[in-house]
Every structure is written in C-alpha cells, then in structure tokens.
C-alpha cells in the first residue's frame, strides 16, 4: 500500500506541483512580480514551449520556424472571429489549432527529409515565408502590417452558469487551464512508449529504425504536435490581447522561443515557461534602469551565449542534473559469468508465420549484387540457410562481409538479386520492416542509446516488435506492457547485466556495453540473427563470456556470424562461407574450410592471379 502510494506520488507529483503553482502564483504576481498579465503571457509562451520542448529537447529537432504555426493558429482564429464567420470562440480556436497542425504536416513533410543543420535552415526559411505571406499576399485577411484587432474572448454557458473570459483574471484562468491540460498531455507523451521512441530517435535514429520503429512517422507526429501547441498558444495570444500582431510570425518570435527554452531548461517541459519569465521580467525590469534600458536584449543574448557554453541544459536542467545522480559503474570490465543464468536459452524466438509452401529455408539469398560508385562490393552472392543453422561468414579485408550483413539486414538497397526470409520476399523491405519480420542485427561498433539505462535500451527494442512500426499510444506508460517488461527482465538476467540494469549506458565499461549490444538484437526474440563481429575489442576473459552467450543463443534460431576470431568461428559454426572481393570463394564445414588451399591462398597471398 505504501509502495503503491509512493508510485502514485512519483507519477503525479509534477502535475500536482504545477496545479498548486498555478493556483498560488497569480496572487504572488499580483502582489510582487508585476501584474497578473505578466504571468498570463509567461503561460502563453509556456504552452508554445511545451510542444517545442517535445520537438527539440526530446526528439532533437531544432526548429527555427515555430512562429509559422504560432501565427497561423492566432490569425486563423482571429480572422474567423473578427470577420464574423464563426461566433463561437471555442470552435474558432479549434479551427486555428487544426490549421496550424495541417500547416505543420506540410512543412514537416518537407523539412524532415533532412536533419540537423539542413532542418534548422529549412524551418527558418518556412518561418520567414509565412511572415511574408501574412504581410503581403494575405494582407486582406490578416491585416498586413497592422495585424488583427478586436479578437473577442470566449465565454462558457452551461445550464445556468455563464462566464466570459475577458478581463485579467478570467484570461489568466483560461490560459492557465490550457497550460495545465497541455502539461498533463505532454507528461503523458514523455512517459509513454512514444516518448521513449522520441528520446531514442534523438540519441541514435538509425538504431531506432533498426529496432522496428517508423522513425519518419514519429518525427512527423511530434512536429505536428508542436505545431498544434504553437497554434493553441497563438490563438490564446490573440484572445488575451484582443489583438493579433504580425510579429507573431517573425523570426524574432521563433528565436525568442528557442532562447527561452534553452535558458529555462530544455527537456523539463516547464523550462520554456521559466525562460519566458526570465526574459519578460528582465525586459520589463531593465527598462526601468536608465543606463541599460535598451540593452536588455543584449544582456539576454549574452546570458544565452554563456549558458550554451557552460550549461547547455539551462537553469532548470542544471538543477535536475544535480539532483539525479547516476552512480558511475566501478567495474573492472570482466564479464560476470556467475550472473548469467547457467544453460539459459536466451529467450526462444517468437513463433513466426511462415509463408505457404513449408519446408522453406530460413534465409534464401539469390545472387545479390551491390556496387558503390563502380566498385562491386558484393558481386553475386547466394546463400541457402535451413532453419536453426549457425552459419559463419569469413574472408580477408575488403571481402564484403560487413556489406553483406548490411544488405541482409536491409540497411541498404540491393542492386540486383532477391532475399527471402522464411519464404517471404524482403528484397525491397527496409530495415524497420526486416525487424518486424523477425530479423535482428548486432553491430560491430556499439549502437546504443547512451543516455538511457540498460533496461530502457532493451525496452526500446522490445517495444518495437511488440507494438509494431507506429502507434500513438500516448496514454500508456512506457513500462506498462507486462510481456515487454518480462522479456526485458529475463534478458537482463541472462546477459549478466542485473547489477547495471538501471545505470546510464554511457557510464558502463566496454564489456557491458557489448553485452547490451547483443541484447538489443535479442530482445525482439528474432528468428534470424545477424552478428557483426560480436567479439570485437574484448579482452580474453570477456571473449569467453560472450562466446558462452553465443553458444546459447543459437538454439532454435538461425544465426549468421561474421568474425575474425577463427577459434570462435570454428567452435560455433556448423557451416562457413568464405568471401573474397565480393564473391563466394568456398563454403563448407570448419574442417573443409581449414584444409581448403584456395582459402589459404586468399588469406595469405592476397589476390589470386
């Protein structure tokens, strides 16, 4: 009972805190911090920032064009009301938010084709475009440089109760209610599987896709959500001020949002509001001081630069970091064999649906080819693996082993040839689809989510297979799938990672990370496992530990192992394929391969005449 109470508190404490703050602060503001209107403005920026925080801090997408949606929401709402098209303010707001969201879909589809620098440039460009559109071609509707005056406040009539939201206090109550609702919603998102996927996308988008999540779809979804929040904030601004300013579309507005979020603390959801408070108070406050009255923005800019340099997590973020300390792991890096469940089966593969025409091969690779700019990396390779086979691929440098695995995992397109997984043609499938069909790969260089814990890392992989490519289940808890949690717990135990299960990955030594890397490939319970040099970079005792794991994980599934550790290869593999310069040189058992003269030549003598 006590534990349940504790869990309830942990989950709902922030919401409770915000509710209390929203109740108490207006009185504080009236008394000391300037008028209530300041708080209302702060909260409008706060709503704007809730969506932006999801986009920027959680998903890692820095947009400099959010003003486009802020302005759209405000002007559509304002126009519908001032022109008399709609008299119901709530409907007009809904229309404004919808318009912002639709605009968000359009911009998102174009801007999200690129990342990082390009994305920032494109969003800035669209922001400027919308500013220009407001000013000129659409001036008849928007009022051009004059904006839209006379936006009315909404009112509520339920039964006998009636209230209008004009005036200081009612405006605050309206905005405060929206902020609270928005905060509750974004908290749900952050704590949901969707939030986990977004966080994963920020840290390693390629691996997130390889773990079965439709990354472009999630990115578009969060972009549209951010646009909707922006539209809501814009609509509220127009209502609050009874006026919609053209500057709401300006780069200044997008920039102000970014600066406030960084100063207040990106990733905290309330950071943008805190930042808005700092910005607005500083502006109002400094304007009283004669000498520096017009330097308030310069000072803010300087503070911003200093914060980026020394405290990239902003003020609230820095406080959060001080509080939550992750214990660094003092391991000596030696695999804990005693931890691993002896003789465990490393999670039997999920039963898979085989295409009709049974007795099919697990993997049927027919004459695949891949070139890079005229160089043939893979030149007509075929493989036929029956179910349950443990197969190794070896070859000298430049043979194409890694390329082969990338093609099989569907990370790259085929130039020619076909691949059939359990009878299903996956030649044109992408890496996300391959994962959903039961194929998973473990990478030569660790591809993990460094800021998440071991458990969270594994969960992202399990959620991919369990929930499918795309689901907007924002009202579920990320750890609310019993099956997923069971799988993750079992795998943590079998991998010998119990001690560090709840530590952040970037604090772990290499050996543990390598085990987790293997774990990410196993957590979907794949029937087809691709292992790219799992023993790379391990010390002799660590190698032994992983080899033990490899022995176990072959049971009941088909495995392709690429390795240079010949001892391990001969020990584990039933059949070995030798590649050389993109072609199959030989294939056979360990004994056959080691006595094959051609293979010897390939390794020792380089190219054959």
């Amino acid at each position: 009972m006590l534990e349940a109470g504790g869990r309830w508190r942990a989950r709902w404490l922030p919401e409770l805190g915000i509710a209390i703050a929203l109740t108490v602060l207006p009185f504080v503001f009236e008394a000391g911090f300037g008028a209530l209107d300041l708080l209302t403005r702060v909260l409008i920026w706060g709503i704007f920032g809730l969506g932006f925080d999801l986009l920027f801090a959680f998903t890692g997408l820095l947009s400099f064009g959010q003003a486009a949606f802020y302005g759209t929401g405000g002007f559509v709402t304002g126009y519908l009301l001032t022109s008399g098209t709609l008299s119901n303010v709530w409907l007009a707001m809904a229309a404004g938010i919808a318009a912002a969201a639709v605009f968000g879909v359009f911009v998102g589809l174009l801007a999200l084709r690129r990342v990082g620098i390009y994305f920032a440039m494109i969003t800035l460009a669209f922001g400027e475009l919308s500013y220009f559109l407001e000013n000129s071609p659409l001036a008849t509707w928007t009022g051009g440089e004059n904006g839209l005056p006379g936006v009315p406040a909404p009112s509520v009539h339920i039964g006998g109760f009636s209230m209008s939201f004009g005036g200081s206090w009612p405006s605050y109550e309206l905005v405060g209610a929206f902020f609270f609702a928005g905060f509750v919603f974004t908290r749900f998102v952050v704590l949901s599987p969707v939030g986990s996927v977004l966080t994963a996308i920020r840290q390693n988008p390629e691996r997130t896709a390889a773990l079965g999540h439709d990354v472009p779809a999630y990115k578009l979804a969060v972009f549209v959500v951010a646009a909707a929040f922006a539209g809501c904030a814009g609509a509220l601004l127009g209502i609050f001020q009874s006026y919609m300013p053209p500057e709401s579309f300006a780069l200044d507005t997008s920039g102000q949002l970014v600066i406030q979020t960084v100063i207040g603390g990106a990733g905290t959801l309330i950071g943008p509001a805190v930042g808005a408070f700092i910005w607005l108070s500083l502006r109002d406050g400094l304007q009283q001081v004669a000498a520096v009255s017009d330097l308030w923005k310069f000072i803010l800019g300087a503070v911003f630069v200093v914060l980026i340099t020394f405290l990239p997590n902003g003020i609230v973020g820095a406080i959060f970091r001080l509080k939550s300390h992750v214990r660094p792991h003092h391991a000596d890096g030696i695999a804990r064999r005693d931890d691993a469940a002896p003789g465990g089966t490393l999670l039997a593969p999920m039963p898979n649906v085989t295409a009709p025409g049974a007795a099919t091969l697990a993997l049927d690779v027919r004459d695949i080819k891949k070139s890079y700019g005229g160089i043939h990396a893979i030149h007509g390779v075929s493989l036929a693996l029956p179910e349950g086979r443990f197969h190794a691929v070896i070859g000298p440098n430049g043979a194409g082993k890694s390329t082969l695995l990338r093609l099989l995992a569907r990370e790259e397109t085929l130039d020619a040839g076909r691949i059939f997984l359990h009878g299903k043609d996956i030649s044109t499938a992408d890496v996300t689809a391959a994962y959903q069909h039961g194929m998973a790969k473990s990478y030569q260089i660790n591809q993990l989510f460094p800021q998440q814990t071991v458990r969270q890392n594994l969960r992202i992989g399990a959620l991919g297979r369990h929930r499918g490519r795309w689901r907007l289940d924002v009202f579920r808890a990320a750890d609310g799938f019993a099956t997923v949690e069971e799988i993750v717990a079992a795998l943590v135990k079998e991998l010998g990672l119990t001690e560090c299960a709840d530590l952040a990955v970037n604090t772990l030594p290499y050996g543990e990370k390598r085990r987790l890397e293997l774990g990410l490939a196993l957590v979907s319970r794949p029937s087809m496992l691709l292992l790219d040099e799992p023993l790379a970079g391990l010390s002799p005792p660590e190698r032994e530990g992983i080899k033990q794991l490899l022995r176990n994980l072959g049971k009941g599934r088909t495995v392709i192992l690429v390795e240079h550790d010949m001892d391990a290869v001969f020990e584990l593999a039933e059949q070995i394929t030798v590649l050389q310069e993109g072609r199959k040189l030989a294939e056979g058992t360990a004994g056959e391969i080691s006595s094959n003269l051609l293979v010897k030549q390939a390794y020792l003598g380089g190219t054959m005449p």
């Binding site: 890692g60 820095l62 400099f64 174009l110 084709r113 690129r114 990082g116 620098i117 390009y118 920032a120 440039m121 494109i122 800035l124 460009a125 669209f126 400027e128 475009l129 220009f132 559109l133 000129s136 071609p137 780069l251 920039g255 970014v258 600066i259 960084v262 017009d294 330097l295 923005k297 310069f298 803010l300 800019g301 300087a302 911003f304 630069v305 980026i308 340099t309 990239p312």
Partner: protein, 291 residues
C-alpha cells in the same frame, strides 16, 4: 505585360542582387563546408559591414576607404570570434553551434542598436556612383552597375584565393578531408581560423557595398540570412560555385517575379528551394556526406 525596358531593368537588378547574395553566401558556404558550422550570425555580420561603411564615410568621406577599412574590420572581427568563441564548439553537436552563433547575432544587433539607435542611417552614394547609365533603350542607375562590377571583382579575387594560392589549396583540401591535411603537417585549426575570417569578411564587404542602396538599420541582415540559406540549399553546402550560381538564380527569381506579382517573389524562392530539396537534396553542386 512588362515592357522590354522594365524587363531588362529587373533582370539587371536580379544580377545585382544575385551578386550580392553570391558574395554573402560564398562566405557562409565555405565556413559551413570547412568547419561544419552554420553561422546564424552571418546576417549580423553583413549589417556590421554596412555600419562600418557608414562610420568610415562619416569621418573620411571616401567610399574606397570604406570598402577597405570595412573589409579589415570584419576580417579582424571574424578572427576574434573564431579564436574567442567558435573554436570551442568544433566538437560540440551542430545544434549547439547554431545556438551560439544565433545568440552572438542577437548580441551584435542589439549592441549596434544601442550605439547607433534604431533609426535608419543614410549612406550616400559615392561621387563616382551617382547618375544613370544610358543603355540605349533603357536607363539604369550607375552605382548598381558599379556594384556588380565590384562584387564580380571580389568574387574573382575569392576564386583566385581559393584556386591559385597556397592557403586556398589548403582550404579546399580541408573542406574535403581535414584529417589528411593534418597528417600532411598542416595545423588544421589555422585553416579554420582563416576560413572563418575570410567568410566573415566577404559578408561584411557585401554590407558596405549594399549600404548606399537601402536603409541601414540594425536588423537589415535578417532577410539576407534567410535568403543566403536558400542559396546554400540550392547551390549545395560547401560549394563555392554553388553559392555563385545559387545566388544569381535566387537574385533573378526575386527580381523577375516582382515584375509580375511583387507579393509572390519571396514565395517563389522558397518554392524553388522546396523543389531542389525534393528532386536533388544535396543541391546543384553539393556532394553527399559532410552534413
């Protein structure tokens, strides 16, 4: 339907604007290509150039001096910024680099506003730039023709610097493979310093040249920032020829669409940018990789 003189006039305007954008964007693109830094303060640098020109002209009245001193001031400014701030960011994520240059840009604009006030300053045309050129069937302002000439000469100089000098060779190699440049014994961070300074100077000189043509106000650089982004996307990140071709293309689109419907000229360049993003995402001259 526009008349021939109107059309030619706007076409010339397009060349003038295009050259200006080409100069600004080539600075932006070499910084982006070599350092990987997207300089959000680049518009503010342009503005700083215009104000430098204004100050020099107020005291010495020589436009030539304004150009030279303006170039030097911005060269030194770029050096100071690179050494004092940017170089600590090379190993930080792109987003941080964008944010810090954005903050720097704001500081620059506000500092100028504090010193000079927000009202526009007028920079007079140089004595050799006043008047009109008679092309027979249409007239065109002399200064704009001269501006095209000056910028063309500067771009030529830029080209010669990149393709005919030692330092240019190192810069071009550095855009491709900074690690290898280090392995051949050259201190790569010196290269970065030079590139940032020259790129900043380019935008600054563009500002001096532009100053007599429009109002000199603290946030005059803002539209040029957005437009130079469009140029770089169209031309290709890190490509000097791309910046030139992209600049002329954008300049012409802006000027010629004004003939038909001024309201849509801005929308037109963003439409072209969108098209390039869909059809050829790396730009006309860009190569895959780097960003």
């Amino acid at each position: 339907m526009p008349t021939l003189p109107q059309f030619l006039s706007q076409a010339f305007n397009g060349v003038a604007l295009g050259c200006l954008l080409a100069l600004i964007s080539s600075g932006l693109t070499i910084i982006l290509g070599t350092l990987g830094v997207l300089n959000f303060a680049h518009g503010a640098v342009f503005m700083l150039g215009a104000y430098s020109g204004f100050v020099v002209l107020s005291h010495w009245g020589s436009f030539g001096a304004a150009l030279i001193i303006g170039a030097l001031v911005l060269l030194l400014f770029g050096l100071a910024v690179e050494r004092g701030l940017i170089r600590f960011y090379y190993s930080r994520p792109h987003e941080h680099q964008i944010l810090v240059t954005f903050g720097l840009g704001i500081m620059m604009v506000e500092a100028v506003r504090h010193v000079f006030g927000g009202l526009s300053q007028r920079v007079p045309l140089p004595s050799w730039g006043q008047g009109i050129v008679n092309f027979g069937f249409f007239f065109y302002p002399l200064y704009r023709v001269e501006a095209i000439g000056i910028i063309a000469a500067l771009l030529l100089g830029f080209y010669l610097l990149l393709y005919r000098t030692r330092i240019g060779l190192v810069v071009r190699a550095g855009i491709e493979d900074p690690l290898m440049v280090g392995l051949l014994g050259t201190h790569v961070s010196r290269v970065f310093m030079v590139v940032f300074s020259i790129g900043t100077m380019a935008a600054g000189v563009a500002g001096v040249i532009y100053a007599p043509l429009a109002a000199v106000i603290p946030n005059m650089g803002e539209p040029f920032l957005a437009e130079s982004f469009v140029v770089v996307v169209i031309g290709g990140l890190g490509s000097f020829p791309g910046a030139i071709v992209g600049g002329i293309v954008v300049g012409e689109i802006l000027s010629l669409t004004t003939l038909f419907n001024p309201a849509y000229s801005q929308a037109a360049i963003y439409a072209v940018m969108t098209l390039v993003l869909i059809v050829r995402p790396h730009g006309l001259f860009g190569t895959t990789g780097r960003v």
